[in-house]
Amino acid sequence: MGDIRPEDLEKRQDGRNIDSRLGELSGEGAQQRVRDIDEANPTRGVLRTRPSRSGVLAESPSYYGQPALKEPVWIWSIPLYFYVGGVAGAASVLGAATDVAGGKHLEGMGRKCRWVGTVGDMVSAGLLIYDLGRPERFLNMMRVFRPTSPMSVGSWVLAGSGAMNTASLLFAGRRGWLGRAGEGAALGAGLFGFPLAGYTAVLIANTAVPVWQATRKTLPLLFMSSAMASAGSLLELLPHSRGEEKILRLFSTLGKVCELLAGVAVQHEASRLEVLERPLKHGPTGRMWKAAKACTAASLVLGVWPGRRRWMKVAGALLGSTGALLTRFAVFRAGKASASDPQATFQPQREGMGAAEVTGNTHASDGRPFEFPLPVLRESPEPPRRQTSSARFEELEPEPPSAPES
C-alpha cells in the first residue's frame, strides 16, 4: 500500500474507500458518486420517542414511521407540464371543432388554436426533457411503445400531436393535396388533443402513490375539464373577434364549471379514508387546493357577470389560468405528501383497497382472511407487561430548557 494513508482515502470521498489508481472499477454501481444521506436527527438532541413505542406497538404498525414508498422524484416542471400539455390538448380539440363546425369566417380562430397547440407541444417537450435525469437520452422514449405505461403512450401522443399541429400550420392555406393534408393534420391534432389533455391524469393515477391511485376514476375528468378552462382562459387573453369571443367564453365557462364539479368529485373519491384525504385538506397543499378552487370560482363569476368590462375579462382569464395551474400543483404535491406517509399506503390496503379491490382476493399477505373493513389494529391483545424498573418504554420527558447563562 505504501503511500496510501487512510486520511487520503477519506479526503477522496469516493464513498467506497477504494483507491481507483489500484485498479479500474467496473462493477454495476461503479459510476455512482457518493451522496450523504439525510440525517434523521440533525439537531443531535435527545430523541423524544422510543423507537419501540413509535413503531410496532403504535395503533397501526409501521417501521418507525418511515415512508413505505419512494416520493415521486419529479420536480416543478412536471405539474407545469400537466398544465401546458392540457392547454395544448384542449386548444387542439377546439381548433379541430372549429374546422369541422365553424365555417369560413372562423378560420382565423382555428389557426390561433393550432398555434397555441404547436407552441404548447414544444414547451411540453422541453419541460419533460428538463425533468429527465439523463436528458440526452430523451429519444429512448421513442424506442418502444408500451401500452401498460401511460408515460410511453403519452410520449407518442405528444409526438403525434406536435407533428400534426406543425404540419397543419405549415400546409394551411396551400392548394391541392398539400392543403388537404394540412386539413387532415388539423383534425388529427384534434384527435390527439383528447389524450394529450387527459393522459397525464392517467399517468399519475397509474402509480403506487396512494392518493393518486385512490382518485383514479375522477382525476382524468378533473384534468380534462381543467384543460378546457385553461385553454379557454389563455385564448381569451389573445386578441379575437366578437364571434370568437362567444365561443371562447362558452368553452372556458363550461370548462370551469366542470373543473369545480370534478374537484368536488376528486375530493369525494379521496374521502373514502381519512389518511387519503388528509393531504388535500391540511397544510400548504390543502391551502393550495382550496386556493385553486377559489380562483376558478372567482374567474367563473367574472366570466358570467353581465356587462363585462375589459379589466374583468382579463382578470377572469388570469384567474382561470391560475386556478388550473394551482390545481395541478396541489394534486402533485398531495401525491408527494401521501407517498411519504406510511399509513396512507398501509391503511387503504388493510381496508381492501389494495389488490383485493381488483382481484377480490380474500386473504391478506399475513395469511389471515380479509374482512372488510379490516381492523388496522393489532389483532392479538397486547401481552401484559411486567412492571419492572428496566421496562423503559415510556416517552421521555422533553428536556427542560436550560436557563440562559448571564
Binding site: Q32, E39, K70, A96, T148, A208, K246, A355, S365, D366
Partner: protein, 266 residues
Amino acid sequence: MGQKGFFTDTTLCIGCKACEVACKQWNQLPDDGFRLTGMSYDNTGHLGASTWRHVAFVERPVPLPTQTVGLMDFSWLMSSDVCKHCQRAGCLEACPTGAIIRTEFDTVYVQPDVCNGCGYCVAACPFGVIDRREDDGRAWKCTLCYDRLGEDMTPACAKACPTASIQFGDVDELRERAYRRVAQLHEKGWEQAYLYGADAESQPGTGGLNAFFLLVDKPEVYNLPPDPVVPTMKGKEAWASMGWGALGMAVVALGAVLFGREVTHG
C-alpha cells in the same frame, strides 16, 4: 436457466449486515455516509439507489413465543429486505423506454445504457424499492447480481449470509423449502410464521414475488405493504374515465363552436 430468486427467512437473520456490505462491495456501490438514522441500529433506513439490501431492525416490547427474557418482554425482529423481482413488476410495466427487462433468469433488471431517468418506475413500484440518483440520473435497484448469475455464481448477499437467512436458488425449490420451514416453525410453537408473497395466491396484486419472505409479524412492521398491487391493474379505470372525459370535451367544444356560429350569423 429457470426462475431464480431469493427466499429470505427473517427468523434466522441476526442483523449482521454482511449482505449489505457484500452487495456494496460486489456492485461497487458507494456507502451511505456511516450515520445512524436515530432509530434502532438501522443506519441505511430503506432500500434506495445505492442500498440494494437493507437490514431492518424492528425493536418490539413483545416477547417471541418461545423466548422469555428475565427482566422484560422484548424482542428483535431482523429482516434483510431487497427488490422483490415481482412476477408483475410495477417498475417494468411503467418504464417507457424499455430499460427495465425481464432476464433469462426471470429477474427484473434495469439496463443502465437505456434508462433516461424519467423516474416513472420510482412512483410505480408498490414496495418503494427502486430510486433515481440525482447525481447520475439513472434509476437503480438490485440486479439479483445479474453479472454473477451469468457465471453460475450465487448472488453476493446470499453468498455472504452466515446464517442461511438469505437463500438463493430456483424459485420452485425455494418455495418448497419455505413451506417446510413454516411447518417446522409452527410445530415449534411459532404459530405466526407465514410466507409473504410466495405465490400468486398469497399476493395476487404482484403475481407472486421471486424474492419472498418468511415473516412472524404483520408486514407493516417490516415496512412491507400488506396487499400491494401493480398499479396497472387499476389503471384501466383511469383510461376509461379519460374516455368519458374526451366525450364530454368533444361535446363542449362542438357545442361552443355551433353556438358561437349561430350568434355571429344571427
